[in-house]
């Protein structure tokens, strides 16, 4: 993994972008410039736009600095993702060797990691692919004036250039079933990889590597983006903006996970 300032839309790069980016490759192929500090849209905002506390939503959307959260909850999923990506450094089918014991995990995490590795090899073991190194954290959407910030899955392609996007979950709260495009995370990811995947067909996969579930479908990327994902995204961003306009705190259970407690009138 590298850290680098990359070519961004409109040829702009900022320290903020460099700080966030962990790999190479521009995302959105568009001529319109997007301010690197433009508002953020995350999968959580897309999912909870109507019900999330307005003040918290505004804090996330405007990328305000807040109190630091725990960062341990995603480390197994991150290790699994990294191992899967390394398994496809060159065009190859994944093997269990890619999911050898890793350091820095608690024994329980190691068990989850191993289970996830076995399922990854089982579910994807017949596909020789190479991981495509795209920006893995954010991409601008010029038309909406926002940045999509969050995971975009594992993009891979085979020897014939056929593309596939894999969303890997490790013990998902929501069951993996139905159409992959029903998943907010999958729609989000598809838009994020549009620059790479646009103009072709792509196999979209959502897998739960603890439950051994996989759903997938072939997607005509441009058609799905134009007909489904982008109208949906525009609608969701409009909802987010409407909520941001009234950032009234709504104290409740979600305060436990809020990063913007300081200065909140509900907790003065």
């Amino acid at each position: 993994m590298t850290t680098d300032i990359v070519r961004t839309v409109g040829g702009r790069a900022s320290p903020a972008m460099a700080r966030r980016r962990r790999s190479l490759g521009p995302m959105t192929q568009t001529d319109a410039p997007v301010d690197a500090e433009s508002p953020r849209v995350t999968p959580a905002l897309l999912r909870w736009a109507e019900s999330m506390c307005g003040r918290r939503l505004a804090g996330v959307h405007h990328d305000r600095r807040g109190n630091r959260p725990s960062d341990a909850r995603f480390r197994v999923a991150n290790r699994v993702f990294d191992s899967a990506r390394l398994a496809h450094t060159d065009i190859a089918v994944p093997t269990l060797g890619a999911f050898r014991a890793v350091t820095g995990l608690e024994p329980e995490e190691q068990r989850v990691y191993e289970a996830a590795g076995r399922w990854y090899v089982t579910l994807f073991g017949d596909r020789a692919v190479r991981a495509v190194d795209l920006d893995d954290w954010e991409s601008p959407v010029a038309e909406l004036g926002v940045r999509l910030v969050g995971p975009a899955g594992l993009p891979v392609e085979d020897a014939d250039g056929r593309r596939e996007l894999r969303l890997l979950r490790v013990g998902a709260r929501r069951p993996v079933a139905g159409d992959p495009l029903e998943s907010i995370e999958a729609r989000f990811a598809l838009e994020r990889v549009a620059g790479w995947a646009g103009g072709a067909s792509l196999r979209l996969c959502v897998a739960d590597l603890v439950q051994g579930a996989l759903i997938e479908r072939e997607v005509d990327v441009n058609r799905v983006l134009d007909a489904e994902v982008r109208p949906w995204l525009a609608e969701r961003v409009a909802v987010i903006r409407a909520r941001v306009a009234d950032p009234t705190p709504q104290p409740g259970l979600e305060c436990a996970h809020c990063r913007y407690v300081a200065g909140c009138a509900a907790h003065a």
Partner: protein
Amino acid sequence: MPDRLLGDIVPLSASSLDTWLRCRREFLASQLLGLPESDAGGSPDQGLLVHDLLRHIHQQGSCRDAEHVEGTLAAHGLNGSSALQGFVERHARRCPPDDAAGEHEVERARFHRRPAPMFMATGRIDAVWRHRGLLDARDYKTGQSFTERVADDPRARLQVWLLAPLARHEGLRLRLRYEFLSAEVLDDPEPFEPDDDDLAAIEEELRGVVEAMWGEQEFAGVADAALCGHCRYRSICPDSASPGVPAWPVPPEDG
């Protein structure tokens, strides 16, 4: 830099507190690492159903109105369930007067800033009634009773600390009562009416718990077969006294 197990502001709920006090290893797996459960625990389905049912009954009428109760059960496809009717009847005997103003599923959050460490306590209170100068909070229980005084249950202590600002704001006396609704439990534990000294002591207790969380290094498991047997991580916990095989599906070639 090692991963941070705790954020700047530690979240605290009745459930997380209960887990911390029961087993620090389970607390690590569930609350800090958010790992998928490897084993089945007790099913919360009946408890959730009873909570939901009582909320519906109170929103539309009175739990003492047999016709209304029957209609609500029928509307949820639950008519004919003598078990559920029993839960409702036992609740009705404890329910405040019909003229009491009530709310269900009341979410509360309260922030502790100083002295360090900071924490954010949150909770959802099953029902809160206002009557006779009382903020009368209820926690519906469908299982067994393990305490004779609500005041002795750490989860209840957190709940009253959450509710105290609301009671103070409305000029009401605060009381928390556990309603044990199963037929096997004959008497509810003594309700808790905390005074200012109690509330100050509770805040310090909670602060102490969070301080202990920050100081915890080992996260040793309780290794008690009686407790481990119900743990949702018993098959993957290195300290489990009830080891087993995870309930996760096994890939075909592994099986």
